[in-house]
């Protein structure tokens, strides 16, 4: 089954929130998953593999300790922490490349590198261990699949794509990944109760008039 990119985004937002991330990170994860799908990558699979790792339960250990040196956490870096930081601190790339260690689901760094490319108005090269991707504001050169974790990720200015990915207008998630995202999303829904049904919405009047 295929889904609209809007469905992908809405589900990803709820799922990320359901997995314990902040609303702001959920917003960013949802745009990221949508963009990955638009690039023909497996946005749903990539996001669900991150949510499964449960990093949101202890965010402080999964974010860079400092901005101006090597980005490293006490534990694996969460791309929903390091990714937004890459976009927020894109200007640092003007001085030198940004290097990160022990990054979980590094494919999720790509959408944020794209924001950084847009801010700097130039292409960026992202090296995930030995795999190289290049991203611009509206294009991406990357292989179909990327490692589940990276020992090192290096983001630097410049890079010329040899072939950019074709754009997709739909998302084609693996049903298992889609189900998993929906299971996380479900955690954001309040249980159905009679009281909620009666008082939470509607008019309390008959519509059969």
């Amino acid at each position: 089954m295929n889904f609209s990119l809007n469905e992908m985004e809405a589900t990803a937002k709820r799922a990320t929130r359901g997995a314990g991330y902040s609303w702001g990170q959920a917003e960013e994860a949802s745009k990221a998953a949508r963009w990955l799908c638009a690039q023909g990558l497996d946005g749903a699979g990539i996001l669900s593999s991150l949510l499964e790792r449960g990093l949101a339960s202890d965010p402080a250990t999964h974010r860079p300790g400092q901005i101006d040196r090597l980005w490293q956490g006490e534990e694996a870096l969460c791309p929903l922490s390091a990714g937004p930081l890459l976009s927020d601190a894109a200007h640092l790339l003007k001085t030198s490349p940004i290097e990160m260690r022990n990054v979980a689901v590094p494919a999720l760094m790509l959408p944020f590198a794209r924001h950084a490319a847009s801010i700097l108005n130039e292409a960026l090269t992202i090296e995930i261990d030995t795999v190289q991707s290049v991203v611009g504001e509206d294009w991406l050169m990357a292989p179909d699949s990327l490692p589940k974790t990276a020992h090192t990720v290096v983001v630097s200015r410049g890079g010329a794509p040899t072939a950019t990915r074709e754009q997709e207008t739909r998302a084609y998630p693996d049903p298992q990944d889609w189900d998993m995202l929906n299971r996380y999303a479900h955690r954001t829904y309040a249980p159905a109760t009679e009281e909620s049904r009666l008082l939470g919405a509607g008019s309390g009047l008959s519509d059969n008039d």
Partner: protein, 562 residues
């Protein structure tokens, strides 16, 4: 929208405009999405056909209505059902409807219609495809439907008084666009001239739905009355609009789309400022204004609501109309910036209902100053989402103070200031609002209290140096990312933020619903509770086959049939 150069009178202050009580008093204007659509279709000479109308004697079947513009065709695929009365609910939690619809991008084949017939009647439980632009459903106004069918079947025309007072034969209970349930994303149509403006797909779907409903009621009367059935008089059917029944889904929409909502409000404010800046009005402009004012009085006289809040507001509006009449008797409106004088006076003399009605009406003579602004109402700046991490914490603090000063003074721990919480129920994902301290809902709260969150972010910024970039703060405090994003939008989207408490014990969600619906062009707001409202769309409008440049615009202002 950089048009301040033409304007001497400034736009009204967001701190005034964006209060909930004022947003809950907005009226349609010539920028509304329905009127943009009908003007365009007339200007471009769209043509309309009904290639399929296959409905049986029980009122069950399918129909297709096509609308052809200069470059593309859009088709409403309609399914009529025989709904048991006990299942007739306008809530999201309903599972069956009197009629269901999809707007197809192009002309559907038999196979498309068959595919849709297996999905569209199920609504949320079905799937549509990238070929469909919207998915919707409607329920009958049982009272008026029965009256019209019976009258026509007996060879008589229906009673116009009943039609004026109800306003529609069916009301839509959701019109889903933008990729919902598998439909095409907004991006598919966002660059087309006819769908660049917001909600044009949805407005077209409803415009065609109205024609289908008229044809269906005639069909049912013909079935019942046989040879003696009368044909509905076009002068009467014109007053049949399409209703809409709306719950809390629209409130999150305007909070979650601050740039889009800003564009709607800012465009209207810019239009008001331009007209207020007109030095001298011509006789024709004055005549147009006086005409639409008189016609508005007729429209207001048909406006019914039993909800105590709206009853009071209608009383005030009716008193306002008398005061405006009196003003217009004494002022010939010709010179000294007549519209500015009128607006200045309204702020001292009228309720917010009356003030906003006047602010909309003064735009009517000035299509040349106003209509071009419509192209600025969509949100095309997706980059506004990206946070500027280099912004200094001092600047962020200043921005928060500018937009949310009132919220910083509020004690958000006091019960009445945070009594409510917005949430999504697992029951068909219906958006709801509840009592935070009485119901187990706060764990599921949606981020729909930007002012409270801004106050919290402001507090958290307390110990941080002004000169530090906000990126450092956000690294340690991801819980404030959504707030900092909004705060950074406020300089370019000053009308994007509601300047009131959206979770206080006294919040009226219907104010948020009305603000959105007024931009659709809705009339006759009829709250059924503090979180539920019925409205009327397209009442007075020409039907597709009647549409001309002469009747495409001012149809929203009724003229009593002679």
């Amino acid at each position: 929208m950089d048009a301040q150069t033409q304007t001497q009178i400034e736009r009204r202050d967001p701190a005034t405009v964006m209060r909930l009580s004022r947003l809950g008093s907005l009226h349609q204007c010539r920028l509304s999405f329905m009127r943009q659509l009908t003007r365009r279709m007339a200007r471009e000479n769209w043509s309309f056909t009904r290639p399929v109308f296959d409905i049986d004697a029980n009122g069950v079947g399918r129909a297709v209505y096509t609308s052809q513009g200069p470059d593309r065709t859009y088709s409403l695929v309609a399914f009529a059902h025989d709904l048991p009365p006990e299942q007739r609910s306008d809530r999201v939690i309903a599972e069956a409807w009197d009629a269901t619809f999809a707007l197809f991008d192009g002309i559907p084949t038999e196979a498309d219609i068959d595919r849709l017939s297996r999905n569209v009647p199920l609504q949320e439980a079905g799937r549509v495809s990238e070929s469909e632009l919207s998915l919707s459903r409607a329920n009958r106004s049982v009272r008026l439907w029965d009256h019209v069918v019976k009258s026509l079947a007996a060879g008589q025309q229906p009673d116009v008084e009943q039609i004026y007072q109800v306003g529609y034969l069916m009301r839509t209970t959701a019109v889903y666009g933008s990729g919902k349930f598998g439909a095409a994303d907004r991006e598919k149509v966002a660059d087309r001239p006819e769908t660049q403006a917001p909600f044009q797909v949805e407005m077209l779907s409803v415009f065609l739905t109205r024609a289908f409903v008229r044809d269906l009621v005639q069909h049912m009367a013909n079935v019942q009355g046989g040879d003696q059935a009368a044909t509905l008089d076009p002068e009467i059917s014109r007053w049949l609009g399409i209703g809409n029944s709306t719950g809390l889904g629209m409130a999150p929409f305007i909070v979650n789309h601050p740039v889009l909502f800003n564009n709607w409000i800012m465009v209207r404010e810019e239009a008001i400022a331009r007209v207020r800046s007109v030095d001298v009005a011509s006789d024709a402009e004055i005549a147009r204004f006086r005409d639409v004012f008189e016609r508005s009085r007729l429209s207001v006289s048909w406006w019914r609501s039993e909800h105590p809040i709206q009853v009071k507001k209608l009383e005030a509006l009716k008193a306002d109309l008398l005061l405006i009449s009196e003003y217009l008797r004494q002022d010939n409106l010709t010179a000294d910036r007549p519209w500015n004088r009128l607006v200045d006076w309204s702020e001292t003399a009228l309720s917010e209902e009356g003030q906003e009605l006047l602010a909309s009406l003064i735009l009517e003579p000035y299509g040349d100053l106003v209509d071009g602004l419509a192209s600025c109402m969509a949100d095309t700046r997706s980059q506004a989402f990206v946070i500027d991490g280099t912004m200094s914490i001092g600047t962020v603090r200043d921005l928060i103070r500018e937009t949310y000063a009132w919220a910083l003074d509020l004690d958000w721990d006091v019960r009445e200031n945070c009594a409510r919480a917005w949430y999504v129920s697992e029951e068909k994902l219906e958006p709801r609002m509840g009592e935070r301290f009485d119901e187990p809902i706060s764990d599921y709260e949606q981020p729909l209290a930007p002012a409270r969150d801004a106050a919290a972010a402001y507090d958290a910024l307390g110990g941080w140096e002004d000169t530090k970039p906000v990126a450092e703060f956000l690294l340690r405090h991801p819980e404030h990312r959504h707030t900092i994003r909004r705060v950074q939008m406020t300089p370019s989207a000053p009308y994007g933020e509601i300047r009131d408490n959206t979770i206080g014990s006294k919040v009226l969600p219907i104010d948020m619903l009305r603000a959105k619906l007024s931009f659709f062009g809705a009339t006759h707001f009829d709250p059924r509770s503090d979180r539920w409202v019925r409205i009327c769309m397209y009442s007075g409008a020409p039907y597709p086959e009647e549409l001309t440049s002469e009747n495409a615009d001012l149809w929203v202002y009724p003229q009593e049939p002679t």
